[in-house]
Amino acid sequence: MSALIEAEDLVRVYATRQGLFGRAVPVRAVDGVSLRVARGETLGIVGESGSGKSTLGRMLLGVDPAQGGVVRFDGAPLPDKGTPAWRALRARLQMVYQDPLAALDRRLPIARQIREPLDIHARGDDAARRARVAELMQSVGLRADQAGRYPHELSGGQRQRVVIARALACAPELLVCDEPVSALDVSIQAQVVNLLRGLRGENGLAMVFISHDLKVVRNLCDRVAVMYLGRIVEEGPVERLFAAPRHPYTRALISSVPDPGQPLKGRIILQGEPPNPAKRPPGCAFYPRCPQASGICRAELPQMRATGQGCRAACHHLDGADPVPQAA
């Protein structure tokens, strides 16, 4: 499979100022991330809050400029934001937002908003656009009589369907979903996840699914990348990675997912908080919380290494004596 989108060594640094006269402290929100997504593939990106998932998603779309590294879409580097080439590319790269109410213009009826990408990219004539809007609304499960509604008159799940329909209007090749269900009720989450699942691989649609919900990611994705403090610590096919996580952080994450009706067994409870990204520890960022940490972790940044069966992980102790739990 050829890569549809490929990121190489992406870096994004924010400057935060502490106190009124404090000096600006650089925060490396995304720090040397490389990944690739093939056509029709769904990549999950998981990690806790502040791990740089959303920033990474926006960088893949070219919304946030990369300060280091390069994003290639279909072989060519992304054009600069705001240029006509960047705007034209929006027909092929789309995004689904975490908060659908904020992402919709509350003064326009939803049919107008779903139609907007067709108007922007001049797809078909008026009749064709109307037909396409009706088709999109039906495919995401909105009733035709809801076309004239305003966003605030819809439920959260319906709003997210509008956002998805709008993103799909020009039949994009890549859809970046930034926590699309985390703002929704659990009962509605399933509808939206099923909708996205139905879209998966349809016409070669590739997806980057950013979430902190491991169950959803497992349900939806082909591959998954685990982020910790701006870096990918482990990556691999979803079943393989969930069955046999190699990185201690991934293990802790996966052990925290409850199974209905079963008490949590062998749960790895991490000590402390993720470190302040402005004061990133040297070496492996995870070592202050890692149960396996040793001297080398403190001194040296672990590099991604292949761990077999398409998995890669960044840890010094991959070949260590610590047995890998096989139970899923």
Partner: protein, 288 residues
């Protein structure tokens, strides 16, 4: 309810968006404004006398005198006729100037929000400069240099209050960009033109309209002030402020000369405020 029953659907839609009854105060305000606009348009037909027609035998007649329902001034000119003409002149200045001010300020504000950096600093600097400079003094200087003409007066008043629109428009546009919908539309590939005119402007319009309802009366008052100082509308032409200014001399002996235009100024500005407030709520689909 089912989606297969059109009559039912329509009934439901009617219920969802009831046509809210217009409050009495707003209805009165609308009525008054309509009357003022009619006065302005039909001034030539409505006024019983020419505004310069003097009748020295009927000087300073009190109101309700037959033939002069609002009385006459010190030269025996009919106050009602002059009032009708004044409404026309003042409305033209106030509407024209408010429109110029809103368009100019909003455009600069959006440009600042769009380009940020130097453009933004320049616009903010201009706005600060405008806010720091007493407008009356600037107007006096300009009018003293160039002489007073209707066109110049409208354009000059058009600079009154633009810095408020510029600040509001800039602030709201920046907030919208950070808020999501604007970023989302941009991410759809929209040109800045579509983004600012099609999305951000309708979203911030309600705030701008309220600002317009504040500027409108202020412009009427500013024009009154300038006319009062003798640099606004030049006699024999008349405006509301001009009438107040000249009527002041007869405040104790013939108060109607001044009171008639004063009452019109007050009711008009009040009506504009009430209607503007109501309009803002009506234009917002989320407040129903």
């Amino acid at each position: 309810m089912t989606a297969t029953n059109p009559p039912d659907l329509l009934a439901r839609d009617d219920r969802r968006r009831p046509r809210a009854a217009i409050p009495t105060a707003v209805a009165l305000g609308l009525g008054w404004l309509a009357l003022m606009v009619l006065c302005a348009i039909l001034a030539d037909l409505l006024r019983p006398y020419d505004i310069t027609q003097m009748d020295l035998s009927a000087r300073l007649m009190p109101p309700l005198t037959p033939g002069h329902w609002l009385g006459t001034d010190e030269l025996g000119r009919d106050v009602l006729s002059r009032l009708i003409q004044s409404v026309r002149v003042s409305l033209v200045i106030a509407f024209g100037a408010t429109a110029i001010s809103a368009a100019f300020g909003t455009t600069l504000g959006f440009l600042a929000a769009r380009f940020r950096g130097l453009v933004e600093q320049f616009v903010v600097m201009l706005a600060d400069f405008q806010a720091a400079l007493p407008f009356l003094i600037m107007s006096l200087a300009v009018l003293a240099f160039f002489g007073s003409s209707m066109l110049l007066l409208v354009c000059l008043m058009g600079f009154y209050g633009w810095e408020r629109y510029a600040r509001i428009a800039r602030g709201l546009a920046i907030a919208a960009g950070a808020q999501g919908y604007a970023a989302a539309v941009e991410q759809l590939g929209a040109t800045p033109r579509r983004l600012y005119l099609g999305h951000i402007l309708p979203n911030v319009a309600s705030t701008l309209i309220v600002s317009m309802t504040l500027t409108f009366p202020e412009i009427i008052l500013m024009e009154s002030g300038l006319s009062f100082l003798g640099l606004g509308v030049q006699p024999p032409e008349t405006s509301l402020g001009n009438m107040v200014g000249f009527g002041r001399d007869y405040l104790t002996t013939a108060p109607w000369i001044m009171l008639a235009p004063s009452v019109v100024i007050m009711i008009t500005t009040l009506s504009i405020s009430l209607v503007g407030d109501w309009l803002r709520d009506r234009l917002d689909p989320t407040v129903r």
